[in-house]
């Protein structure tokens, strides 16, 4: 049964009950694919920083180091 299909249409095309409980495709196909290595602060670098300061420090400056550490194996 397609995910967009209303429940009221369930069973109309003869699908078994298991279709209600099962994903539309095998779960292995839905798993995240390994991504090419990229710096984890990439988003901060790509975007114009917001006009937000905390204690007079630009927000992006406060976030840069923690973002870089997101990608480290220790995290």
């Amino acid at each position: 049964m397609a995910s967009a299909e209303p429940f009221s249409e369930f069973g109309e095309s003869g699908e078994p009950a298991s279709a209600f409980y099962s994903p539309g495709v095998p779960l292995d196909r839905l798993r995240p694919q390994p991504a090419a290595a990229a710096p984890s602060d990439l988003l901060l670098r790509m975007l114009e920083p917001p006009a937000v300061r905390v204690r007079h420090i630009p927000l992006v400056d406060l976030l840069r180091k923690p973002y870089r550490e997101l990608g480290s194996p220790d995290r």
Partner: protein
């Protein structure tokens, strides 16, 4: 046993369960809500307390029965974790479940007015003509995102087991987890299987994987959101590029049951809510420390300060925020997030780095545009022209360079004002790679000339960042490939009849790029270059300063000399030294044979053992030579031939061969081999050993009657082959590890693919002179599985897991690095022999149709039922005559065959299927292996009701399509199924009723046929087999017939084999001939032998 399902509601993971033991239809009936009425109770839903208890959270504090209403009802906090179980999944789940709140929710499910249809994982039966959707009340446990993350991450993958701690259904029946209590006398560490995750929960675990991946890659931004009338600081995902595609795929594939709580909801809405909650949880977990030091902000502190603090605090809420301040902060952050999503435009900039045409020419970076569907990857420059299909139209170019756009070329995806788009894209790209700034001076930027230093900067810094940001980046084919490494040359000093690890060899170690060796002088020159990009041996190479220094040091320290063969094998397996990978090996002698990739062909042939009752096929003989060679060196190996190629007979031949070589010399006589296998294979090993190697003394160490204490060493001493299960090896580790073993063999070695699992650690802890792993799938999902299996075979040889991950796993899994693939093949090649049934040389060795018997054992429950039916039916048969007797005999046979299939087949009580039938366990394993190899299979049963039980169960367990063709289907539906199967879109299991599908159909998409129960009429079985083995079949077909050991199935099979010609004439009418046997003959035929149960 509970099947636990998951949904997402109110910002939390909602768990609810089906209690399989509660469902005894038709008694277990409820009444769904009629319009406007309060919903009825789900008749076999687990109470909140039972759910909490099953998950290990105790449950004393659960409120359980809270009156239902719309959505989520009343709540109560559960008690502290229960004491049962410790470590691993059990401990994680128990700790998480203890943080859950109990409540009651409404859910929409298909079924009748009195009973919802059960999930396929429950194994319960139920069918309704024209099911309707009704509302039911179910008790739920609600978990906050942080706890939900922990639970979802701890779920085992399908087929994975963490013996003793994982939920039972991952265990083979009665093995390890004791799901069927197969060993009444076993010590008390066999845990009762109490729950298993349903597919909806497994689906949410995949969503959690995505959430963690987004957080790890920094694809998140902090936001100020409104929650329950207040403000809160939350991390939100940024879904652009491939992540947006993944989100759409996840929403499209969501199991409907996930969006049925507390009523029907759109999948995207449920997924968005779940993803947001899980991303916030994952980000907080990854960022446990405060983002700014100093005083903790109070209520009067500026909102931005409080907000920043709340992003990493346990409490995300920001009560009492001033509206104007909240609006300003919220607007700024929302604008930031919106800008991130604007990056996901339909057309992206395209970049290509072009190397200099001549020595004095510059490098170039070319620009262009490409449709977003091809964006987000680096690629080699190959071709560089139009090609591929960005927009799905084969005639459409997948990119246009600026030069081609200027020349007037167009594509449907190209925007009206391409130069504006390109300049806007370049302006954003400058933020990632400032060197591109110069290109913006040109109103129509097409190309930028750069020197070698800037080319290197683009290669190393710009390209990966731009590609990760969704731009299309093309690099020369050598980019990112291995640069400098080591070449090892090994020469045998003296020819020897039998090689040994201590043999002396000469070696030489040189720096190399690919196959080109570099002398010390050239190394020094390269180390002095200003820019680490140089032409070496006719190709451009990215050099690394650390590698150059390391190469100078290594070559200077140990350029060559003499060492042992064993040391060289270790060196090759290690794959290099420090920063320098081993990029080439040139060896002769035994090492050359091992590394050649054709070791089995080049090694001295070992004669087929005289004691083998059978003939080895040519490739099996070569496999024996390889096994003997490695064993002689004291090395372990992985025999990873495709299923059906005879790994069992190869291993038995090795045992016979080494005994014949010792031939009466007590000093040389090898000690016993310990074979560890899934419980479902014990019967098969025992039968195959008896058939092919009857001279081997076999002791099966399994079950309640197995030898203990002082008896065990004596039993092992008197055996050549000791067969045990992974579960028993874990339980009896102390006793088994105290004995001397010639060899430990792990069959179906994917069982030890998780190196941290207790059973993997257990088999590694049993000392042996040498080890062997047998598996058809050495790598199912991750390369770490190969490391785990190799670590069993040759402990320490591949180095620690972390080094393996850095050197091989990450480059291969994330970049598909071909050099790393080659290096891994070189490192593991000597120890892995894998032949595929599609190899040309193997095909010629194999018959076109290969028939095998699969020996299965009964679970104790099956055996008990079997004995009871035999006693009852023999009484009836003895007291009847004529037609009545004949009817009783046939009824007895039918019942016994049903029991051999599954207790639920006989009882028809809709009870669960998992863990109660040896045959089903074997079918599940085999089917999994067939599908993993990319093949499809036909599975015949003569019982339509058994097929109906199997279909949903196997579909859920294998996570693959399972078709079911039986006599109750219309002709058009049958044709539809056959057509779908023959289309071969993906590996599929096709269950067929022998009667409905035994003739006429053309099912050549299958290369495997399984007869799960027997008709005992060879002609009927052959006709069914010929659905796959017929004109149009291009592959060899493997046919397997399931037989339960020491039951009527084995005895009738023996009778047919003994008198095949007679049988073909006598049994040609089916099974009627059995009713003509005398009562004594029938008693002997039906008798349950001692080998039936394991």
């Amino acid at each position: 046993m509970l099947v636990v399902h998951g949904g997402w509601y109110g910002g939390r993971l909602a768990l609810w369960g089906e209690d399989v033991s509660q469902d005894r239809s038709p008694a277990s009936r409820g009444r769904a809500a009629s319009s406007g009425a309060a919903p009825g109770r789900h008749p076999f839903a687990a109470s909140a307390a039972a759910l909490a208890a099953a998950l290990g959270a105790g449950g004393s504090g659960a409120t359980g029965e809270v009156p239902g209403g719309e959505g989520i009802g009343g709540r109560g906090v559960l008690g502290e974790p229960g004491t049962e179980g410790s470590g691993g999944l059990v401990a994680t789940v128990a700790a998480v479940a203890a943080r859950a709140e109990a409540a009651e929710a409404t859910i929409r499910l298909p079924g009748s007015a009195s009973r919802p249809l059960p999930s396929p994982e429950s194994g319960l039966t139920g069918s309704v003509r024209g099911p309707r959707i009704s509302t039911w009340a179910v008790p739920v446990l609600l978990l906050r995102p942080d706890a939900a993350l922990a639970l979802l991450e701890a779920l085992p993958q399908p087929g994975e087991e963490d013996s003793g701690t994982a939920p039972g259904p991952q265990e083979a029946p009665g093995d390890g987890g004791g799901t069927s209590g197969d060993e009444p006398g076993a010590s008390g560490d066999a845990e009762e299987a109490s729950w298993e995750p349903g597919l909806s929960l497994r689906y949410l675990a995949v969503v959690a994987e995505h959430a963690r991946s987004l957080a790890r890659r920094g694809r998140i931004l902090p936001q100020l959101v409104e929650e329950d009338g207040d403000h809160a600081a939350r991390w939100r995902p940024v879904l652009i590029g491939a992540d947006a595609v993944a989100f759409r795929d996840l929403a499209a594939a969501m199991p409907p049951v996930c969006r049925a709580l507390p009523g029907e909801r759109p999948a995207a809405e449920v997924l968005e809510e779940a993803m947001e909650g899980l991303v916030d949880g994952a980000a907080r977990e990854a960022l446990p420390e405060r983002l700014i030091v100093g005083n903790r902000p109070g209520r009067k502190t500026a909102l931005a300060d409080r907000w920043l603090h709340a992003l990493t605090a346990p409490d995300a809420s920001l009560p009492g925020a001033r509206p104007a301040e909240a609006a300003a902060l919220g607007d700024a952050l929302r604008g930031w997030s919106a800008a991130a999503h604007e990056l996901d435009g339909p057309v992206r900039a395209w970049f290509r780095l072009v190397e200099p045409a001549g020595e004095d020419d510059p490098w170039k970076v070319e620009f262009g545009l490409a449709p977003a569907v091809t964006a987000g990857r680096t690629d080699d420059a190959g071709g560089g022209g139009a090609g591929g299909s960005g927009s799905g139209d084969a005639d459409e170019p997948d990119h246009l360079t600026a030069a081609r756009i200027r020349a007037g070329e167009r594509a449907s995806w190209l925007p009206e004002r391409p130069w504006e788009v390109l300049r806007a894209e370049l302006a954003r790209a400058v933020r990632l790679h400032p060197d591109l700034h110069g290109a913006l001076r040109d109103p129509e930027p097409a190309v930028m000339e750069v020197d070698t230093a800037r080319a290197f900067s683009f290669l190393r810094g710009g390209a990966p960042a731009l590609a990760a940001a969704g731009y299309v980046v093309r690099l020369p084919e050598w980019a990112g490939r291995q640069g400098l490494g080591l070449k090892l040359t090994v020469r045998a000093t003296e020819g020897r009849e039998r090689a040994g690890l201590s043999d002396r060899v000469d070696f030489r170690l040189e720096a190399a790029v690919g196959g080109h060796t570099i002398g010390e002088e050239e190394l020094s020159r390269l180390a002095g270059l200003r820019v680490p990009l140089a032409r070496v041996g006719g190709r451009w190479v990215e050099l690394d300063d650390r590698q150059l220094k390391a190469a100078l040091e290594v070559v200077g320290r140990r350029g060559g000399g003499e060492t042992t063969l064993g040391e060289m094998i270790r060196e090759i397996a290690a794959g290099g030294e420090g920063e320098l990978p081993l990029v080439a090996v040139d060896a002769d002698g035994p090492l050359g044979d091992l590394l050649s990739g054709e070791a089995d062909r080049r090694l001295t042939p070992v004669p087929t053992p005289r004691a083998l009752r059978g003939t080895l096929r040519p490739y099996q003989g070569r496999g024996l030579s390889w096994l003997s060679f490695l064993s002689g060196l004291g090395l372990g190996g992985v025999l990873a031939d495709d299923m059906g190629l005879g790994k069992t007979v190869s291993a038995l031949s090795l045992l016979l061969s080494e005994r014949e070589r010792a031939a009466g010399d007590a000093e040389e006589a090898p000690g016993p081999t310990l074979l560890v296998c899934p419980m479902s294979l014990i019967g098969n090993w025992r039968k195959e050993a008896a058939r092919f190697a009857p001279s081997l003394r076999v002791y099966v160490h399994h079950g309640g009657s197995r030898r203990r204490d002082d008896e065990l060493p004596a039993a092992v001493r008197d055996a050549d082959l000791v067969i045990t299960t992974y579960g028993t090896a874990l339980r009896d580790l102390g006793a088994l590890a105290a004995l001397r073993w010639e060899r430990v063999i792990c069959d179906e070695a994917q069982a030890i693919k998780n190196s941290a699992a207790r059973q993997s650690r257990a088999v590694r802890a049993i000392p042996a002179r040498t080890r062997l792993a047998l598996t058809g799938t050495p790598v199912e999902n991750r390369l770490s599985e190969l490391w785990s299996i190799m670590e069993f075979c040759n402990p320490g040889l591949l180095g620690p897991a972390r080094r393996f991950r850095e050197r091989y796993q990450e480059p291969i899994e994330t970049r598909r690095d071909e050099d790393a693939v080659a290096a891994l093949r070189r490192a593991t090649g000597p120890f892995v022999l894998r032949r595929l049934k599609t190899d040309r040389s193997i095909i010629t060795d194999l018959p076109e149709k290969q028939e095998m018997k699969v020996w299965c054992t009964l679970t104790p429950e099956q055996a008990e039922l079997y004995t009871a039916v035999v006693n009852d039916m023999m009484g009836r048969i003895g007291g009847s005559a004529g037609i009545e007797r004949r009817g009783n005999v046939l009824a007895a046979m039918t019942k016994l065959k049903q029991i051999c299939n599954h207790p639920a087949h006989l009882l028809r009580d809709g009870s669960r299927l998992a863990g109660r039938s040896g045959k089903l366990a074997r079918l599940e394993e085999l089917a999994g292996e067939i599908l993993a190899e990319g093949d499809s299979a036909l599975v015949f049963t003569q019982y339509a009701e058994f097929g109906a039980l199997l279909r949903p169960y196997l579909a859920a367990r294998l996570d693959r399509p399972v078709l079911w063709l039986h006599g109750g289907l219309s002709r058009s539906r049958r044709e539809e199924l056959v057509e779908r199967f023959q289309r071969g879109d993906e590996p599929t299991l096709f269950l067929l009723s022998l009667k409905a599908a035994g003739t006429g159909l053309n099912l050549t998409a299958a290369s495997h046929v399984i007869h799960v129960d027997r008709w005992w009429n060879p002609a009927v079985e052959d006709q069914a087999t010929d659905r796959a083995f017929r004109i149009g079949q291009t592959r060899n077909v493997q046919v397997r017939k399931f037989i339960c050991v020491d039951t009527l199935e084995e005895r009738i099979d023996e009778m047919i084999e003994r008198k095949r010609s007679l049988a073909e004439s006598v049994v040609g009418t089916g099974e009627d001939w059995i009713s003509e046997l005398s009562t004594d003959q029938l008693r002997e035929l039906f008798r349950l032998g001692p080998g039936a149960v394991s």
